[in-house]
Symmetry: C2
Subunit: 166 residues, 2 copies
């Protein structure tokens, strides 16, 4: 619960590299996500080449923080595994959220940078990484050791809760 | 991490009611989810009326477990708050996943029952609860104290991990 409640979008990172083992643990968390009929329609690309990371803010208007992130995880949807058609978006979002909670749990910082359903971002990311047509770049998660400290956000709004009807 | 790694879909529940305060804490976790531009396009309906719950398996082919769940949370998308158009699905999926992790953390059991994007399920749920057109029933989470015990699933697949390209 603590990681869920304290998680914030972190857009500033130190230069300290993130150990490979930690990245694998984040992806282990991602792959624990539920999916429609257990279809697991996800693929992940770890991006730590500086020249590749630096290309991303050139086509994505809200990805400036990638320029200082030591690494990013690209979550992709695998349309060939979307056997319960149309659910891959939700499944990949659940995997993405698992990564973000695991990031908070491990004292790292990250932010969810949306790609899908913006065609121009999806296409540019696909071109940058030579990703095949059946794989959809879904969301990018730049991450690192946080260089900013944010208190928990309190977004609770009792007005969003309804009982047994509208 | 423990809640993420041990979470399983639980479809069998004891008759013990879930305290109201716990339900509120689950929704607090839900509302901590990230969303596009912090749009928070979600609404929640707590359903604990037996007569309403019992209607759901009549129109949803995979909702048989609702008949024995003491309560369910319906996660809805609020299209009037989807200011970053098209991202509400991902935002609601992140909120849903937060609920499921919080459920596991608290020793409860739950399962993600998909509604959107299946039109017939969305329409039937909207009619059952008199939900307005601008609100989209997204996913149903039947929950309770677990009457089944499942070991953690190991879904980790190193073959899903790519480095700096495809």
């Amino acid at each position: 619960m603590k990681a869920i409640l304290s998680r914030r979008s972190i857009r500033s990172y130190t230069a300290q590299p993130v150990p490979e083992q930690l990245l694998i643990e984040l992806l282990e968390a991602a792959m624990c996500a539920p999916s429609a009929g257990n279809e697991q329609p996800w693929q992940f690309v770890i991006i730590d080449r500086r020249d590749i990371l630096d290309e991303i803010p050139k086509f994505h208007p809200y990805a400036g923080m990638v320029a200082e992130a030591p690494v990013a995880i690209l979550v992709c949807g695998d349309l060939l595994r979307d056997t319960h058609r149309g659910y891959w978006v939700q499944d990949c979002a659940a995997a993405t959220e698992n990564i973000l909670i695991a990031v908070a749990d491990k004292g790292l910082g990250a932010v969810w940078v949306g790609l899908y359903p913006r065609d121009e971002r999806v296409r540019a990311m696909r071109a940058l990484l030579a990703i095949p047509e059946s794989i959809v770049p879904f969301a990018l998660i730049p991450l690192g050791y946080p260089a900013e400290d944010k208190p928990p956000a309190n977004r609770f709004d009792a007005g969003r809760i309804h009982y047994n009807g509208w």
